[in-house]
Subunit: 298 residues, 4 copies
């Protein structure tokens, strides 16, 4: 089985590495020389273009920054779909809008190529450890084929429905995540200001109806959740600018579907405000700084 | 030990009943004849005024609708503090602003009377079953005395800190709850509109970073969470108008503390919008109807 | 005609001064020695208590910080209504909630005392120049009596309806003002970031459908509106904390009336966020700083 | 001088009509047969493609629904820029994102073709009456050339700055407009609920600091502003879905510029909520219905 991997950055590089460790032959491409060097060091076959990697491949996996890159790579006169063989399979693990996935999948289908979306959660740590969760949008047959390689890169493979629904699941999950993190930030900051010990407050919340992933696993108040970014100055987490990107996808998809998301519309702008203030690369739980006195923000 | 219970409504009445079942003698008062009838049927001693109930009492428990009632009952020339004996204890289980609790506690202290706030979570079902959670604001000694009676009415007794912090914990928890419920409503409605099966979506969320009490235990989409109000037309839950009241306390307390709560300010108004539309008594998870087409709202 | 004036601060002191300049005899009271000194220097008769000032007065004017002060001054066993003579008139120019006005007016009516609310716009400059606008809530007869003294202190006397409606008008106006100022701040900051000259942008807005008092008279971008606080570091304007107070009245009144105000709920918290960051005394147009890069905020 | 006009809908058709009335020869194209029929009846020269219309044209004017149409029409191998002669001028009056304008202008410049953006305000009534306001982004020389034809279609020609700034001005103006309309809706609905006569309230606002175009010219409360859509069931105004489109452009442009617009993010979703409820074609001032009891919404 020939596997091609397009996009060997922090996420894609680690995922490809796990495929190599599992004994697969992987043909890879990235625009970055450094990424290609890492890939080669791990045993990958470096290609000079996406087309070279994808030609004769059974499976093409892509992990790209945004929808426009996915469209560029697959579509168009020189896109991957023009060189891939009939009967092959594309797995796109990028986080993009569902409509772009459907567009690429429709174009692929016309050439007899199967496609599924499989965005991930778990971050760079999960990518390295091979413990990612894949949210897969695919028909049953394509799902089974995709699983053959996804198992080497992740721990959980969740079938969400037809092609595009993997993106829908990720977008909706991260919409709720972005809002609930801000909610916990508001609640923790208010409680502290009103004089309750933050640890006691977190204890109540986490045993009551306010509990959520953001209060339990990634509490924005320092030293409540073990190992959370709040304990290390909000470094090495899920960057605010990435949360902002995902909320942008939610707003865009909601607009296309003519579906209102009131809190979503507001929190997108709150995370944007944080980026404006220079905190784009901090973990998104640093939104709690918006609720603390200015002097504490330095 | 003589116990007085002021406020025998849906919550207070059930709580007093559990005290009676535990073999305690309880002297009760309520403005409602019907409430007094129920109390008498259960073996309670009906009193003609709060003062009559509280005179010579060792412990006075109050469960009242709002801060103004708590202030009226305890303070003033004819308030309970004027008839209670030194060394006695007040436990207020009403949900009110922390400052009012502190004011009453300070007045009580001047008369040698101890006071703690012990607001509850668990609703009328928890009150009847004796499985309430009490969030207690008290010093260590008062906490121990309060526990003697609280154990008959609840399952969890959480010490939050000094007097007033029980209210702080409840307000902050419910602030997060009110926001995260709206977040789940937005995410579920968006996902459904974008074509993912709601049950599959809930599955992803509940095993990922969007999970929260509102997505797991009380999902606003019908028939996701077993026994949730969404399965029964949003009946018999935590009424929207009560959520609105609690958010009002959060806004008020935040204003006194000069602490911004941006999402809190918005969701308070969203729940108010629901009440304007005639849904005040539906469970607050019915906020999802704000995100569904009009025709589906009937 | 004996006039009593209760509350001789920045606003009340200047208003009383204009009455004195118009040849009226004014009996005044304030808790501040400094305020009383100014009042005496201007020819006022200093009293040792509100009661002393109001006894035998034909008209009592009050200008107090909040509803609780108004209630304390007029109501209760020793309140002004207990010493004022039947047939006299109270004019309250404080900005408070409409319900408090109605409560005091009802108590006054029982003693045969007329009452109207007459909150002002125009700020300390208008108070000094005698160019205030009074928004009066009163029946027709009371309005005519009030006008006799209001004309010495203001330029416009607007009849809003029955007692309490003066406050309603002021609250609703300032609600719109607070939101539209934030809207202009967002629009101006966005335009500047997108590369249009702020002066050209303001020109378009002010000749188009975005024009409003906040864009024309008090544009938050520096040096657009002549003499606006933005031109002088946001000093000497309508303090953010006062806007916050008025928005708090709007939220409170809306809550009592069960009326949603979604944007109102959000902007109240935005102004609160500004206060948290140490900008409580700056003009409320400084909200534009929330939309500018951090470094520009110093 | 040969003029080509691409897009002859409600707006473009009326604008082209005014050029014809001024004695110009106009070559037009639209996808709609009906639009072409109207254009021919008014004396226009119907063309079978945009290319046919634009070949040998001195000036091409376009009025298209969205950025993708503008890009399709001008760019690409068979786009207008490939057939237009060097030294000619493009005037795009569509409302689109500033970046698309800049992209088309840059491509035009490479062929020696000048380009300006000139979005309009004034609606279909202004287009028919020839009283539109044009917000023009262009260098000084291009502006002068564009004015030659714009004067036949509009009353005000405002120079906003370099190419793209016309769109920036329109987007920012409509952002403020969309928010201030919602603000007025909140204020008017709150005031009415609190018992003030809406006409009296509007009078106060319009003579005070809350006044804005939305309160004076297009008040959302029925029968306050003469001839406003509120007087005719919100028919024949600026459709909510068009306001939603413009707010979408603001959110998109803000996202590209990494500029937060908090209220903008929220009101976009509020207008989307209105569309979900079936009010997409009503004037955007019908947002006041979100603040009125449900029964009044039918």
């Amino acid at each position: 089985m020939k596997i091609a991997f397009i996009g060997l950055g922090n996420m894609g590089g680690a995922m490809a590495h796990n495929l190599l460790k599992a004994g697969q032959t992987v043909y890879g491409f990235d625009l970055s020389e450094k990424a290609l060097k890492h890939f080669a060091d791990a045993g990958g076959v470096v290609c000079s273009s996406p087309q070279q990697a994808a030609t004769e491949a059974d499976i093409v996996i892509s992990m790209l920054p945004a929808a426009k890159h996915v469209r560029e790579v697959y579509l168009g006169e020189t896109g991957l779909l023009s060189v891939m063989k009939a009967g092959s399979l594309c797995i796109d693990s990028s986080t993009i809008d569902p409509q772009s996935v459907k567009d690429v999948a429709a174009a692929a289908a016309q050439k007899g190529i199967a496609m599924c979306d499989a965005p991930v959660s778990g971050g760079t740590i999960g990518a390295q450890a091979g413990t990612l969760t894949f949210m897969v949008g695919a028909d049953a047959q394509t799902l089974e084929r995709a699983k053959q390689v996804l198992v080497h890169m992740g721990k959980n493979i969740v079938h969400c429905g037809d092609v595009g629904t993997g993106q829908v699941a990720k977008i909706c999950n991260n919409l709720i995540l972005g809002i609930s993190m801000a909610a916990v930030a508001e609640g923790m900051a208010l409680g502290a200001k009103l004089g309750i010990d933050p640890e006691a407050l977190a204890g109540v919340i986490n045993s009551s109806s306010g509990r959520c992933w953001s209060s339990e696993v990634c509490n924005p108040w320092p030293n409540i959740s073990p190992n959370a970014p709040a304990a290390r100055g909000y470094q090495d987490g899920f960057a605010t600018q990435l949360m902002l990107k995902d909320l942008g996808l939610a707003i865009e998809a909601a607009g296309q579907a003519k579906q209102p998301i009131l809190l979503g519309g507001l929190v997108q702008q709150l995370y944007q405000q944080m980026c404006l203030q220079g905190n784009a690369t901090l973990d998104f739980s640093s939104i709690i700084q918006q609720y603390l006195p200015q002097q504490a923000q330095g």
